[in-house]
Symmetry: C2
Subunit: 308 residues, 2 copies
């Protein structure tokens, strides 16, 4: 079924203990779309870049099955730019530069051809922009998934809570869940956040996996234990892209299928961190995805009973 | 099959954000034995206490299926005493008091009736004492599991590495695995540590679950997401007790069965943290264990394929 993704398409500059990259393609919309396109095509992208953005990067996205009709190009402006440095443990980072540029006054225009979308992924952006996308669709999609971050909790909590109230699935990390709910226990935090509206809550714990909550049910997917985490940038977005891409491709929003979607999201995220930025996602082959999902099955599934 | 457990039996004084307890029964040997006794009885315990230890606590252990023939009582000495305080996040603690007392010159005497044991659990103790137990058994057990901690890496690394070389399964936490291997990546750490001798390695990650490594294989068991962690004291020992207790009761040391053993260990640890010290373990009913294991099945197992 058709998928609409909104999120930033940007330039990133990264430094990790393994090396650095200057001005490579990044942004939540980019990682989500590249990840989701492994499951469903086209991925209908809504975003904005400046005249400095590379035509070759847009062509790459198109070649991966991403529809860029909704990608606005502001020729006289500059693309969103983020620069950050990771510390040795890869769990903490510092932001060196954030230049909003074209994202500062982003008006999310939905192409008419995107209107029939059944699955909507709201990548991390200002919550009022995320809300506009829902409001501008003539029909409410079958499933709306929203990702956000602590930044919006700090500066736009009211708008954030309003948008959270309109979505089906919220995806945030553990620290953000604690900040939003004012509860340390993630079980308590999940209850409070689901009371804000979302029927499903995903709490991402980075290298410690992800939890999916729904009513009284909870499902846990680990992160794949890796020899090296090369660059964590975009892992959360790649997770979200795999999650909604799998749901859209199977068109099944049962809790059982959401478990598989969380596993597929985790599998995609495990690729993302193996190289800088989008490098691994761009090179990824379909059979690698199938193999990686099987690794997750081996990692967690067990027969509850001994066969005697 | 018969199980021999060695480890401290002690007094603990605890303070957590939920309250405090003065001088309650604790110690690795206690938690391991109480946990394992849910699966196999008797648990043949080797340990030492002072004359101050309560007869009622020994009677409680006996009532739970623990054989205390190997529990030495030094009437004129004092029991091992540990006191600690947990911080708000429950992941960090400070040790306030450690009094070795009877543990200072502990000579682990193995009763003749324990000699036929097939499963041996070496709870956290000086590595030279752990080694003595292996050497004093006339026949090597079918499976030797060892737990240890960073303290011995700091002050007795050579003896520790010698003992590690003699066991089948080593159980340590993530920080200890990093310290022992000098590798940050747990996958790399596991390879280095298994090269020291153990064919199996369990890396405990507290609230983030546990990893079981064997050759190129890896299995992950989450911790159960709980509303509250009341007191983490003894959770790692309780995990180890559930792990070896389940293996001894099924007498099956295949990797498939070790996965189930890790799940049973995790289930037991999830009980342990619900109350202070051993309180929850002492009250535990058999059907609660069965139910808790089923919660783990629901938490992690998924059908890899959709049924169309």
């Amino acid at each position: 079924m058709s998928l609409l993704v909104i999120g930033s398409v940007a330039f990133d500059a990264l430094e990790t203990p393994f090396g650095k990259r200057e001005k490579i393609i990044g942004g939540a919309g980019t990682f989500i779309s590249l990840s989701a396109a492994n499951f469903v095509q086209p991925v209908n992208l809504v975003s904005v870049v400046g005249g400095d953005f590379l035509k070759s990067d847009i062509a790459m996205m198109q070649g991966k099955g991403i529809n860029t009709d909704g990608l606005q190009i502001k020729e006289n402006e500059k693309s969103f730019f983020w620069s950050g440095r990771y510390f040795n443990d890869m769990n903490s980072r510092e932001t060196l530069v954030t230049e909003l540029n074209v994202l500062g006054d982003f008006d999310p225009i939905i192409p008419e051809s995107y209107q029939d979308c059944q699955y909507l992924m709201l990548g991390n952006l200002a919550p009022q922009v995320q809300r506009q996308v829902i409001e501008r669709l003539h029909n409410r999609p079958k499933l709306v998934v929203m990702d956000t971050m602590n930044f919006w909790m700090d500066i736009a909590l009211e708008e954030l809570i309003q948008t959270i109230g309109m979505v089906d699935v919220l995806s945030i990390n553990d620290e953000e869940a604690r900040q939003l709910s004012k509860e340390y226990s993630l079980v308590k935090a999940a209850k409070k956040i689901m009371a804000m509206g979302p029927k499903y809550l995903i709490i991402k714990k980075g290298e410690h996996g992800a939890l999916l909550f729904h009513g009284e049910e909870v499902f846990f997917a680990p992160a794949l234990p890796l020899e090296e985490v090369f660059d964590p940038t975009g892992a959360g977005d790649t997770f979200a892209g795999g999650f909604i891409g799998y749901l859209a491709s199977t068109d099944d929003i049962s809790f059982e299928n959401m478990k598989r979607a969380v596993i597929h999201g985790s599998a995609m995220a495990s690729f993302c961190v193996e190289q800088f930025g989008t490098e691994r996602l761009v090179d990824l082959q379909p059979d690698e995805v199938v193999q990686r999902v099987l690794e997750f099955v081996k990692l967690v599934n067990f027969q509850p009973q001994r066969l005697s």
